[in-house]
Each structure stands twice: as structure tokens, then as C-alpha cells.
């Protein structure tokens, strides 16, 4: 299972970076989204994959009886997803406003502030 997830993470990174190298601003955003998904999935895989064992302590016990899924990465991802969702929503609005104001979605034409 780990290896499948590892390949998925790698694929997401590759796709994300490929999209970010395009000239369209919208594709840049899709690339950013893929990149943050890749990072989230990486954290999930990093915590170790344990199938079907929720970290629940049976009543009367002080600790789980067998090896359980690590809950911390899942909490981290939950936070990271919320943050990246908010940031991506902002970025979408930004791109739309930029398109309205500058009338282009070509990154090569956004050069005025670099001169």
C-alpha cells in the first residue's frame, strides 16, 4: 500500500510542477492545488499506513491493544487542507481580478513590476 501511495505522491508532484510551468495563470493555480494535495498525501503516507485500526482505546484499558493508525498526521492534514482551501479560494479571486484588470492570463505578459 505504501508503494502505491508513494507513486501517487510522486505523480501529483510531477503533474503539479508541470502545470506550474505552463504560461496560463489558471494552470499555475491548478498546479499549486496539485502541489498542496501532494504534500498532504505525503504527510498521510509518512505517518505509516495501518488498515482498519482506529486509534480507539477500549473501555477499561489505558492504551490501544494493537498497533493503530497514527492520528496526528490526519489532524495535521485536516488543518493543512483547510488552510490550502482558503488560500486557493483567495488565489482564484486574485487571478480573476487580475484577468479583469490586466486583460491577460499569460504569465509572460505580467512583466510591468519587474522592470
Amino acid at each position: 500500500m505504501d508503494i502505491v501511495l508513494a507513486i501517487t505522491v510522486g505523480g501529483l508532484y510531477a503533474a503539479g510542477i508541470y502545470m506550474m510551468l505552463r504560461r496560463s495563470v489558471v494552470k499555475l493555480l491548478i498546479g499549486l492545488g496539485l502541489l498542496s494535495h501532494a504534500a498532504n498525501l505525503l504527510i498521510f503516507t509518512a505517518g505509516g499506513v495501518v488498515r482498519g485500526r482506529a486509534p480507539v482505546v477500549p473501555s477499561g484499558e489505558m492504551q490501544p491493544l494493537a498497533e493503530v493508525a497514527d492520528q496526528l498526521p490526519q489532524a495535521l492534514i485536516l488543518t493543512a487542507i483547510v488552510i490550502s482551501f482558503a488560500v486557493l479560494a483567495f488565489a482564484l479571486v486574485l487571478v480573476y481580478r487580475t484577468y479583469q484588470t490586466l486583460e491577460t492570463d499569460d504569465l509572460d505578459q505580467l512583466k510591468a513590476t519587474d522592470k
Partner: protein
């Protein structure tokens, strides 16, 4: 004040101010007053924190009373509290300055709440003792800065924001990936616990990979070579009050994180990591100053100088001796004050001529001698002319460099310093000395400002210039504080001891306390963490 309250206050006060500001959404005058009170309170609480840390060394707050490494830890050591103090001071200065310089439409779209959010993120990043929390505070700060940067929606702002947002989001993604990998490798994210675990980590290669991931993540935020392009593309686009606080604080959060990571966590392979830092420091200095020399707009020149000076801050860190590190800290203290001030002054110049292009301005030495004097003080301090604060900061760094026998970097630092002086003289000659262009005289406005507007614009500049001169005059005491800070940074045991008081117990017998909320005899319940947490794959395969 209670020590624990003092640690949380720099985060809680901006949060409370922001919440109150949202209730005053409709009234611009009320927002200004509340924003100013909030920033003043933040500065006061930061000063109290600094005094307390000076007396008690390291203050630790385990949020919710969950002991480290399980809970969220806030740590205030000397470096954190100095940075929080500077953040409070800049927040106060820029709040005063923005009273008169931010237009009503920006205030009505939430300038003041966003500024408080930004200050909360910055203070949180300085105070946290946990990597994932650092990520969250970074994002809080970034979201606020994104909106502040685009507030107003002018062409340049939107275009600069695309670059700023993209590069900062990429660095956040790298940071998040680094957090994932470091958790897989060590099973913890608490910085003190990590420091302990990385010391005896079996595979040096993985530690180096982690160090590089964090270097990219923090380096992008700190605008080091070659990751700095977003900074000069965006910092000159928003209103001056916004650029000033960005210039003063945001890149310094990256520098702070680099210092924290490379004095506490990644100190096992100095030959590789710190040599790379030294290379980056040199390249950053040189590219920044060369970029600045090619520019013809005041704020763009100043933006490139930020990049160049990040190099000086990294130089001390890379040399990694107490004296050099003290030089870095002195440099940060000096730089935040001077750079914010230079941006504020550039705002007054732009206000008068309605342009920041060097060709459009001139003759200010005659028409505004006080402004010229204040600019001269800050510019010379930036270039490192004695007896101003920049001189002592650079002197310490160079002494540290000679002591560590890093002659090449010392030579680079000296040459870059000279080029900085050249670049500052260029602004001085163009803006203040050369006669004003014909058309500018008729277009000139900002001369008929009322006294209160003048007070709000000149007050912060005067305050920051006084501090610059003050740091130069009191270089001895500031140096002592910097040296004490550097020593504290190099004494990792003290940090670990403060955050994890019973870490000897965890080191010898892996059975830390499992907290049970509201249970007073929780300390008796010990479990083996290995059983609770699956063994990270990366380690077992070694």
C-alpha cells in the same frame, strides 16, 4: 504580569483587537483609534515579555497544560522576545503612520483588522516551539499579507501579488512536505524534542535532506539567493505603510526560522549545511546590491537592499561562532528599524511628488531639510557609516568573520557595504540634492498638510530615527544583549531543558507522560509511545 500571560499576550492582543475592529467595521475613525490602541498594547506587552525573558532566560507555555512533546508549546527565549519587541514597535510605528496615509476606501475594506492579523501571525511564528504551528502561523501571516498587498486592486498590485502569492505558496508546500518527512523520520514535531532526536539520528543523509527542504522553505520566505524574485516584484506596489511593515517584518520571519532551525535542529553536519548557508549568504549580498544599483525607483532600490541585507544576517548564522551570531542578531535589530524607516520616508517623498521615480523628484534638501536629515541618518546607518547602528552591526559580523577565518565572506561583506553606500548616495543625490524638476514644482502637493497629519507622518519616522541613533550610541548594551542571545542560541541543552523538563526520563526510558485532561494523577499513567504510534517506515528499514 504572570509569565505565562506574558508569553501568550503578543498573540492574544492582536487577535482581540482584530475581533473588536470587526465590530467597528462601519466607522473609519473608530477603526483607526482601536487599531492604534491595539498596536500600542502589543508593543507594551512585547516590552514586558522582553524584560521577563531578560530575568528568567526562557519562558515556556504549554498550551492547554498538555506537556511537550504532545501539546502545543510556546517558547519565549531571548531571540523570540527581541523579535516580538521589534514586531510590536514596527506595528506601532506603522499604525501611527497609516492614520494619515491610508485612504478611507482601504480602511473600509479592512486595512486595520488585516494589519492586526499580520502582527498576530508574525508574533505567533516568533513564539511557537513546534514546527507544524510554525507552518500555521506562517499561513496566518501570509493570508493577511496577500490581502494587504492586493487591497485597492491597482494594476501593479495585482501583478506583483500573482508572483508573491505563487512563490510563497510553493514555499509553503515545500515546508509542509518537509514537515511530513521529518515526522516520518523522527515521530515528533516539537522543536526541542526534534533537537534531541536529531542528535542521535542514525542516518546523516536523511538529516541533510531535511535540512535542505527547510532551507528552501524558509529561504524563499527570507528572500535569499536564488529564491528572492517575488520580493522586488511586489514590495513597491502597495501603499507605503503596507510595504514598510512587509519590509521590516516578513522576510525577517524567514530569517528567524532559518536561525532557529540551523542553531537548534540541524547542527550535526556543520561542514555541509553551514557552508552552503555561507555560500548563499555571499550570493544574496552580491545579487541584492547589484540589483539595487540597476534600479531607478526609490522603493525598488530599497526592496533590492532588503535582499542584500538578508545575506548579512545569514552570514553570522553560517559562520556559527558566538560573535558572528551576535553580529547577525545585532544586524536584524538594526535592519528592521532602519528599513521600515526608509520605506516610511520614501512614502513622504512619493506623497510630495506623486512618483517614486528618481527622475521625477528632487530638491527636497532645500524644501524639507528635516526629512532630508532623517533620511540621511537612516541611509548612512544602512550603509554602515559610524557611529550609527549599522556600523556596529557590520563591525561585529566582520570581527566574527575574521575570528572564524572566513576571509572570503568578509571581503564580500565589505565590498557590498561599499556598494550599498554608493546606492544610498544615489538616492540622496537624486531625491535631495539635485534641483527639483520643473513640472514637479507645480504638481507638488502634500505641503499644505495640517499639523495632525504631519505629526502622524513624521512622528514614527522621528521615533525610528531616534532608535537608530540610540542603538549606535548604546552599542555596548545592545551588543551585550546580542551576545547573550547568541550564547543562548548555541546552548541547545538549555532550550531542550526548558521545554522538556523531564527529558532525561524520556531519553533513558521511552515512557513520557500521557496527558489526560482534568485528571490530576495523570503523571502516573505511562505508556510506551512506540506501541501507540506505528514505527516510522523510513527508520526501521535502516
Amino acid at each position: 504580569m504572570n509569565a505565562q500571560v506574558a508569553v501568550i499576550a503578543p498573540i492574544a492582543l492582536p487577535l482581540a483587537t482584530m475581533a473588536i475592529l470587526l465590530f467597528a467595521w462601519k466607522s473609519i475613525a473608530t477603526q483607526k483609534i482601536i487599531g492604534l490602541i491595539g498596536s500600542t498594547l502589543l508593543a507594551v506587552s512585547a516590552a514586558i515579555l522582553l524584560c521577563l525573558v531578560d530575568r528568567h532566560e526562557i519562558l515556556v507555555l504549554q498550551v492547554g497544560n498538555w506537556p511537550a512533546p504532545f501539546g502545543i508549546t510556546l517558547v519565549a527565549d531571548r531571540l523570540s522576545s527581541i523579535m516580538v519587541m521589534l514586531a510590536g514597535l514596527m506595528g506601532f510605528s506603522v499604525s501611527v503612520y497609516s492614520l494619515a496615509s491610508i485612504d478611507a476606501s482601504r480602511v473600509s475594506y479592512g486595512f486595520y483588522p488585516l494589519m492586526q492579523l499580520l502582527l498576530m501571525g508574525v508574533c505567533g511564528a516568533f513564539l511557537t516551539g513546534d514546527l507544524f504551528n510554525l507552518y500555521v502561523w506562517f499561513e496566518v501571516m501570509l493570508i493577511a499579507s496577500f490581502v494587504l498587498l492586493t487591497l485597492g486592486g491597482e494594476r501593479g498590485q495585482l501583478e506583483g501579488a500573482i508572483k508573491y502569492v505563487t512563490l510563497n505558496l510553493i514555499s509553503s508546500a515545500v515546508f509542509l512536505a518537509a514537515i511530513g518527512v521529518i515526522y516520518a523520520a523522527t515521530g515528533t514535531l516539537n522543536m526541542a524534542d526534534l533537537a534531541l532526536k536529531l542528535r542521535s539520528f542514525p542516518d546523516e543523509g536523511i538529516v541533510s535532506v531535511l535540512a535542505m527542504l527547510f532551507l528552501i522553505a524558509f529561504g524563499t520566505k527570507a528572500a535569499v539567493f536564488p529564491l528572492f524574485f517575488w520580493l522586488p516584484a511586489s514590495y513597491h506596489t502597495p501603499p507605503v505603510a503596507v510595504s514598510a511593515i512587509f519590509a521590516g517584518l516578513l522576510t525577517k520571519v524567514g530569517v528567524y526560522s532559518l536561525i532557529r532551525a540551523f542553531t537548534l535542529l540541524f547542527v550535526t553536519d556543520l561542514e555541509f549545511t553551514h557552508f552552503l548557508l555561507l555560500l548563499i549568504a555571499g550570493m544574496t549580498m552580491v545579487t541584492g546590491v547589484l540589483g539595487a544599483m540597476a534600479q531607478n525607483e526609490i522603493r525598488r532600490i530599497l526592496s533590492f537592499h532588503i535582499v542584500s541585507q538578508i545575506g548579512y544576517m545569514l552570514m553570522g548564522l553560517a559562520l556559527f561562532t558566538p560573535l558572528a551570531l551576535a553580529g547577525s542578531i545585532f544586524y536584524i535589530i538594526h535592519h528592521i528599524v532602519v528599513k521600515t524607516n526608509l520605506f516610511l520616508i520614501s512614502g513622504l517623498v512619493e506623497r510630495r511628488f506623486d512618483s517614486g521615480q528618481l527622475k521625477d523628484v528632487g530638491g527636497l534638501y532645500r524644501s524639507a531639510p528635516m526629512l532630508a536629515t532623517l533620511f540621511f541618518l537612516s541611509a548612512m546607518s544602512l550603509a554602515g557609516v559610524p557611529p550609527l547602528s549599522g556600523f556596529f552591526a557590520k563591525l561585529t559580523l566582520i570581527q566574527g568573520g575574521l575570528e572564524a577565518e572566513g576571509y572570503a565572506i568578509v571581503a564580500v561583506a565589505l565590498v557590498v557595504s561599499l556598494l550599498t553606500l554608493f546606492s544610498m548616495t544615489k538616492i540622496w543625490a537624486e531625491v535631495f540634492w539635485k534641483p527639483a524638476p520643473e513640472e514637479a514644482v507645480t504638481a507638488a502637493y502634500g505641503l499644505d498638510d495640517s499639523t495632525s497629519v504631519r505629526a502622524s507622518l513624521f512622528g514614527p519616522i522621528l521615533l525610528l530615527a531616534t532608535i537608530t541613533v540610540g542603538i549606535g550610541a548604546l552599542a555596548g548594551p545592545v551588543m551585550n544583549v546580542s551576545i547573550a542571545t547568541a550564547k543562548q542560541l548555541l546552548d541547545q541543552d538549555a532550550y531542550i531543558e526548558a521545554v522538556l523538563p523531564d527529558h532525561h526520563l524520556t531519553a533513558s526510558r521511552p515512557g513520557p507522560i500521557v496527558p489526560v485532561a482534568g485528571n490530576s494523577n495523570a503523571s502516573e499513567q505511562r505508556i510506551e509511545p512506540q506501541e501507540l504510534r506505528p514505527r516510522p517506515r523510513g527508520v526501521t528499514s535502516q
